[in-house]
Symmetry: C2
Subunit: 370 residues, 2 copies
């Protein structure tokens, strides 16, 4: 099994060359992943989690890394994704910067970072890479494939490109195809990075880094990940204390502004700007209509699953509930027994990260009944 161990993450070496959907190939590429629980002798208890754009493979604490993960409350012994029963894998997507090969990795052909010369990345490449990992672990068929946000799109690609490799699916706050509002938001995030002189066509370093562009991109992300309703209750018009303000003209005055600042500060230097651009564009490109003669519904109906759980949130403006309904209906037409759950969580698109009661309350019984 072509894996190696280092700190908390494990690494899986992809086939070389690894062919990309839109042309080009990667050499000596690898995926970072983490696991929880024990793979059963018949290898029938495997669950794969595909993440949103920015998370690492560290979905929850485990023996190798006791720090809390991004889905800590969802995943573990006795939790909604119960690792006493399931062998859970979470993968850092191909093209990211949290251990998997991406634009910030060294191109073995040149000895330099790929930067913008990384091959054009599609979510299908992420799906194919994840499937190679699963096969490499000796698993023919996943008990369940779980995808959130961008990971939900990647999961649909996985289901379409690797039929009969998944028994059941949990689709969370995602899309069968990128819609223009989401494209507009992501395009503007990319523009903010590209227009930052320090982006320098991808050739930044730690001293000359596109902090401003990344900050705008992240803040715009956070604005669209949460909901206006949540913020009315949480921030209203509360102002910063005078000692929290700086003297520059037009500096932040309201708590909502410092909340966005804090989010941006945590993100700007911890995520590679070029990786952000590639993954963001891949999300815009994603359209499963390509697998259904131009019709997303036909592509969805071509997916064979035993059971599917589709969860969406009424306050999500980036991946609206109507897109979750589309997925639920399409998978149902494909023959899956579908449970559709529309939550009224106030936290918008990010609700799956914070409304564990709502999401866990749907996921636990679904997995329990498998």
């Amino acid at each position: 099994m072509p894996t190696s161990t280092s700190d908390a993450r494990r690494y899986f070496d992809l086939d070389t060359p690894f062919a990309m959907k839109r042309g080009g190939e990667l050499h000596n590429a690898r995926l970072a992943y983490e696991t929880w629980g024990t793979l059963s002798a018949d290898k029938a208890n495997a669950v794969l989690i595909l993440t949103g754009l920015s998370p690492s493979a560290h979905a929850a604490s485990n023996a190798d890394d006791p720090s809390p993960g991004w889905w800590e409350e969802m995943l573990g012994p006795g939790k909604p994704i119960d690792t006493d029963r399931w062998f859970v894998i979470c993968v850092n997507t191909l093209g990211s910067c949290k251990g998997s090969t991406g634009p910030a990795s060294i191109n073995p052909r040149s000895g330099e970072k790929y930067r913008v010369d990384f091959p054009a990345l599609s979510l299908e490449d992420g799906a194919n890479a994840a499937h190679e990992l699963v096969a490499g672990l000796g698993i023919d068929r996943l008990a369940c494939l779980i995808g959130n946000s961008m990971g939900g799109m990647t999961a649909l690609a996985y289901l379409l490109l690797h039929p009969d490799c998944v028994r059941s699916h949990i689709s969370i706050s995602t899309a069968a195809q990128a819609q223009p509002f989401a494209i507009a938001i992501r395009s503007l995030q990319r523009e903010a990075i590209r227009l930052d002189p320090n982006w320098n066509a991808g050739n930044y370093d730690d001293e000359h880094y596109p902090d401003a562009g990344m900050s705008i991109a992240r803040k715009l992300g956070v604005i669209t990940y949460r909901s206006a309703m949540e913020w009315v209750g949480r921030f209203a018009r509360i102002r910063l204390d005078s000692e929290q303000r700086d003297d520059e003209p037009f500096a932040a005055e309201f708590q909502i502004e410092s909340y966005l600042d804090a989010h941006a500060r945590r993100f700007v230097r911890s995520f590679d700007p070029n990786a952000y651009l590639f993954l963001s564009r891949a999300s815009d490109w994603f359209d499963i209509a390509e697998y259904g003669n131009g019709k997303a519904a036909a592509a969805l109906a071509g997916i064979r699953l035993e059971h599917a759980l589709v969860i969406g949130v009424s306050t999500d403006i980036l991946f609206p509930l109507s897109q979750q309904e589309e997925i639920a209906e399409g998978l149902g037409r494909g023959g899956a027994e579908v449970r559709f759950v529309a939550l009224d969580s106030p936290q918008g698109h990010d609700a799956f990260l914070v409304d564990i009661e709502g999401f866990g309350g749907a996921i636990a019984p679904f997995l329990g009944a498998l």
Copy 2:
């Protein structure tokens, strides 16, 4: 009457000094405005329109300027705001750059542009200036005060600061106080401008101009002024023709992106970046709770009107319908006979500019019955 005529606009000289709400004062300041129709002998047929952040006073074509205005279909002989009956005034708000005094104007004290040394601008200042103009035209009492978007906030300030000067009011897609989602969006727009090195703390010129920051600010504006629903129908996933694309990495590929580009191109050099910052911040500051012992509802209930029409749009994410309901209820408690109209226009916040059937259909009978 202290007015002068130049091209299509008229100019009204404000009292000198003109005191600003937050301190500071303007000298030799003026307002640009346009009019339509004829003021009756009893001066009882005057209608004042207060605009959103960016429009000029040219709401519609008139004898002095036959070019179409920003509300061309709404305003004119036989149109919903019927200039055969009403004497209509539209004012370019104080602090703007379309003829009225603002940060791009020359400070007579220094002989230089105000730039960021313009006194801290509140929407109340815009209201007071507009009221001076109305009084200067010899009008004691407006038949109707109409405000859209930011102009709707300015209109509420007008009503609170100048009681008994308005008989009826049309409130369109606005807010009694800025909510955190709108503050977040506007703060990010300001940040995009401020982070542009060419903004240079307000000291730009035509050669070194914050095009990038203004472009991001405007695109973010357009994204929040329209609606996801409209764009699904209008742009879907339609791509640009190959000759419409440029070769830069991550350049626009979808029509929605070139639509945003076109909006930004039209705006970036036609609106003063410093004026944008001042007006944007004034919108964040606006909170009529200041006039109601900390309660917006109490302030609204203190406004005396004979009739009010409050119109909102269900797809407006920037000034949501709930904020229009709040205004309608509050004005009703103040004793006005209120008609509340919730439209399902797909165009979001901008619907009042384009859904003339919906908005005109509400405005025409309201004004007709006065």
